[in-house]
C-alpha cells in the first residue's frame, strides 16, 4: 500500500510538472529535499519563484486532496522555501496542485491554486 501511495505521488508530480510547463512555467528543480522536508516542484513563473506542493489522490472516498494540505504542511513548505532562497529577496509564492486520479491512473481533475499561503 505504501509503495502504491508513493507511486501515486510520483505520477502526480510528473502530471503537475507537465501542467505547469503547459502554463509557461519553467521548472527549476524537483523534489528539493533535506532533513527538514521536501518541496515537490520549484518553478519560475515570469519573475516569480513558485514553490509547488503536489497532492495526488486516487478516488475521493476519503476526502478531497485539498483537505490533505493543512496548515502544518504549508508551514513546512514555507520554511523550506526560506531555506532554499538562502535569505535572497526575490518575489515568490506557494502554489498547490491538487490531482484526483481514477483507479486506472487517469486524471479525473487537476486544479492549480496560486498563492495559497
Amino acid at each position: 500500500m505504501k509503495t502504491l501511495n508513493r507511486a501515486t505521488g510520483r505520477s502526480g508530480e510528473a502530471l503537475a510538472a507537465r501542467a505547469l510547463e503547459d502554463k509557461g512555467y519553467i521548472i527549476i528543480e524537483k523534489n528539493f529535499a533535506n532533513k527538514f522536508g521536501e518541496i515537490d516542484i520549484i518553478a519560475k513563473d515570469k519573475g516569480t519563484l513558485v514553490f509547488v506542493e503536489v497532492k495526488a489522490k486516487t478516488g475521493i472516498e476519503y476526502g478531497m486532496p485539498e483537505e490533505m494540505v493543512g496548515r502544518g504542511k504549508l508551514q513546512r513548505i514555507r520554511n523550506m522555501a526560506i531555506l532554499y532562497m538562502k535569505g535572497k529577496n526575490v518575489p515568490c509564492r506557494i502554489d498547490v496542485v491538487a490531482i484526483v486520479l481514477s483507479e486506472d491512473n487517469d486524471v479525473v481533475r487537476l486544479t492549480h491554486y496560486e498563492n495559497v499561503y
Binding site: M64, E66, V69, V116
Partner: protein
C-alpha cells in the same frame, strides 16, 4: 458570494448584535477560517458546521470560506454561532435562497449544532428574545430544546428549530416551522412550589418566627447552634415563605439562569425563588461571579432568593469579605480583561454557625471540648462588617425529645408555610405602600434617615429600648438595627407604631457578643 446573518453576543446581561459575515470565494485554495476574536469554542464551530452540513445531506463547498464575526473587537465565546455560520455557508454557496426577511435583517439565528445536524440546548436564548423584541417584526430561530424560555417574551416570533434540515425547509418555504405560541406567564401561588414546609420541622419556634420576620422585612439571619439542630432544614424552608416572585422579578431571575446555562430545557420561566447553598470550599470567583467572560456567581443565582452559608466560619475570609459589596448594593460588578459586567445580587443571607469548633458549647447535655483560644479564633473568622449586615441572630437549640414525637400533635408547631406566607405577603404590602416613591423595598434597606421618618415608637417602647441599650451597651448601629427589626414585627401585626411588645421581641434577636 458574501452573506450577512444576524446573531447576538451576550456580555453579562447585555446583548450586543453580532453580524456573522460568511464569504464563499470562487477562487482560492479551499479552507475555512473564522475571524473576529473568536474563542476556542467558536473556532471549533468549523468542524461542527462542516460535519453537520454534510450529515444533513447538503454539500459543503470545497472553496475558500471566510467567516467574520463583527464587531471585530468584541470577544466572542460559546457555540451559539454554529447555526448562523451554517446558514451563511448554505446561502453563500448557493444551496439556499435567502427569504426577504433575512436580507432585511429581521431574522436572528442562534444555536449550537450537533454533528448530525440537530440543534443542542444553548444558553442565553431569553436574552436574545428580549433583545429582538426591540426590533419590530423580528423572528428568532433557536434550538427547540431551549425555545421555551423565549416564549415568555411577547412581540417576537420564536421558531423552534430541531434540525438544520427543518430550518432549510422553512427558509425555502417548503415546510414552514410553526412558531412557538407566546405563553402568558402567570405565577401561581401553589403549594407544590414549597420544598419543605415549616410544619415539618419539629420545635424551633423561635427560629421559625425569625424566618417569618426575615421573609417579611428582607432581613439577613444568623442561626447559631450546635450541629444537627435543624439549621439547614430551617434555611431550606425560607424560600417557601417568601412572597411569590412578581412577573418582572421572575424574568430578572430567569435572565440570570439563562445566561448561566442553568435553565433546564423546556422550562420557560423560573417561578421559584432560588435557594443557593454553596459549599464552604467555594472560591471568591465562584460566589461573586468570574471567569474570562464573567459568568454569574452564587450571589447572583440567589438573586431575589436565599443564599445559605452553612458553617459560615469555614468559608475563606476572602469569600466572606467579597459578600460585602453585594449585600450593600444589591449587585456585583465584575471586572476582567474582557470587560466589566454587572449582575444583580439582591439576596437574603442565611448563615449557620456552630458556637465553637466542636459544636457543643452551651449544649444542655453534651460537653464542649474546645479551649478558650480555639473558640476565640473560630469566632474571629467572621468579621465585624459582615456581622453588622445581619439583622437577626437566633439561637437554635437542640430540640427536646418530646417535640420530636410523631404521634402527638403540638399546638405550638402548627404554623404551615402557606399561613406564614400569607402573613409575609401582607407585611410586604404594608412596606411597599410605605416606601412608595423611594428606592427601597423592604424595612431592612432603610437607612438612618428613613428609620427616623417611618419608625414611630411609643414612649414606652423607646424607654424600653433605652434601658436595654444601657444594659447591653449597644452601638449606634445595633440600635438602629433593632428598630428596623421591630418595625417589621409591627408590620406583621399591621401596627402603625412600634409598641413595647414589638421592641421586646426584636431584642431577642440582638447580636450575640
Amino acid at each position: 458570494m458574501l452573506v450577512k446573518i444576524n446573531s447576538v453576543a451576550n456580555v453579562g446581561l447585555e446583548t450586543v448584535p453580532v453580524d456573522v459575515e460568511v464569504d464563499v470565494a470562487t477562487a482560492g485554495f479551499p479552507g475555512f477560517t473564522i475571524v473576529g476574536l473568536a474563542s476556542k469554542a467558536v473556532e471549533e464551530a468549523r468542524e461542527r458546521v462542516k460535519t453537520a452540513i454534510i450529515n444533513s445531506g447538503f454539500d459543503f463547498p470545497p472553496k475558500k470560506i471566510t467567516v467574520n464575526l463583527a464587531p471585530a473587537d468584541l470577544p466572542k465565546d460559546g457555540a451559539a454561532y454554529d447555526l448562523p455560520i451554517a446558514i451563511g455557508v448554505l446561502i453563500a454557496s448557493g444551496q439556499l435562497v435567502p427569504p426577504k426577511e433575512l436580507t432585511e435583517g429581521k431574522m436572528f439565528f442562534y444555536g449550537e449544532l450537533s454533528l448530525d445536524g440537530t440543534l443542542r440546548p444553548t444558553r442565553g436564548i431569553l436574552l436574545l428574545a428580549l433583545f429582538a423584541k426591540h426590533k419590530n417584526g423580528s423572528m428568532i430561530f433557536v434550538p427547540s430544546p431551549s425555545a421555551a424560555e423565549a416564549s415568555v417574551v411577547s412581540g417576537v416570533t420564536v421558531y423552534p428549530v430541531a434540525k438544520l434540515t427543518n430550518l432549510f425547509g422553512h427558509l425555502m418555504s417548503a415546510e414552514p416551522i410553526t412558531p412557538l405560541a407566546h405563553t402568558k406567564y402567570k405565577i401561581s401561588d401553589d403549594e407544590e412550589l414549597i420544598d419543605l414546609d415549616l410544619k415539618e420541622i419539629a420545635g424551633q419556634e423561635q427560629a421559625k418566627r425569625a424566618l417569618v420576620i426575615a421573609a417579611a422585612g428582607g432581613h439577613n439571619v444568623l442561626m447559631w447552634g450546635p450541629p444537627r439542630t435543624g439549621k439547614t432544614m430551617l434555611a431550606k424552608a425560607l424560600p417557601g415563605i417568601l412572597p411569590p416572585l412578581t412577573d418582572a422579578e421572575a424574568l430578572e431571575v430567569t435572565r440570570i439562569f439563562s445566561i448561566s446555562g442553568l435553565l433546564p430545557p423546556g422550562i420557560a420561566l423560573i417561578k421559584k425563588r432560588s435557594f443557593r447553598s454553596p459549599h464552604h470550599g467555594v472560591s471568591a470567583a465562584g460566589i461573586i461571579g468570574g471567569g474570562t467572560n464573567p459568568v454569574p456567581g452564587e450571589v447572583s443565582l440567589a438573586h431575589l432568593g436565599v443564599l445559605f452559608l452553612d458553617e459560615m466560619p469555614e468559608f475563606p475570609r476572602s469569600v466572606l469579605e467579597s459578600l460585602r459589596q453585594p449585600m450593600e448594593d444589591g449587585e456585583v460588578e465584575i471586572v476582567r480583561v474582557a470587560g466589566h459586567v454587572r449582575y444583580p445580587a439582591s439576596f437574603t443571607l442565611i448563615a449557620a454557625i456552630n458556637p465553637c469548633p466542636c459544636g457543643y458549647l452551651g449544649h444542655p447535655r453534651r460537653e464542649c471540648k474546645c479551649t478558650e483560644k480555639q473558640i476565640a479564633k473560630y469566632r474571629h473568622r467572621i468579621s465585624g462588617p459582615i456581622l453588622d449586615r445581619i439583622d437577626l441572630t437566633v439561637l437554635v437549640a437542640p430540640v427536646e425529645v418530646e417535640k420530636l414525637s410523631i404521634t402527638k400533635e403540638h399546638t405550638t408547631n402548627n404554623l404551615t408555610s402557606k399561613e406564614a406566607k400569607t402573613v409575609v405577603v401582607k407585611a410586604r404590602a404594608i412596606q411597599s405602600k410605605r416606601f412608595k416613591g423611594t428606592s427601597l423595598y423592604t424595612n431592612s434597606q432603610m437607612r438612618n434617615r428613613e428609620v427616623k421618618e417611618f419608625c414611630h415608637l411609643t414612649p414606652e417602647a423607646e424607654n424600653f429600648l433605652k434601658l436595654a441599650a444601657e444594659k447591653y451597651d449597644f452601638s449606634a448601629r445595633s440600635y438602629m438595627r433593632l428598630i428596623k427589626v421591630a418595625r417589621t414585627i409591627a408590620d406583621l401585626t399591621a401596627e402603625d407604631t412600634i409598641l413595647p411588645v414589638h421592641m421586646a421581641e426584636a431584642l431577642q434577636y440582638k447580636q450575640l457578643t
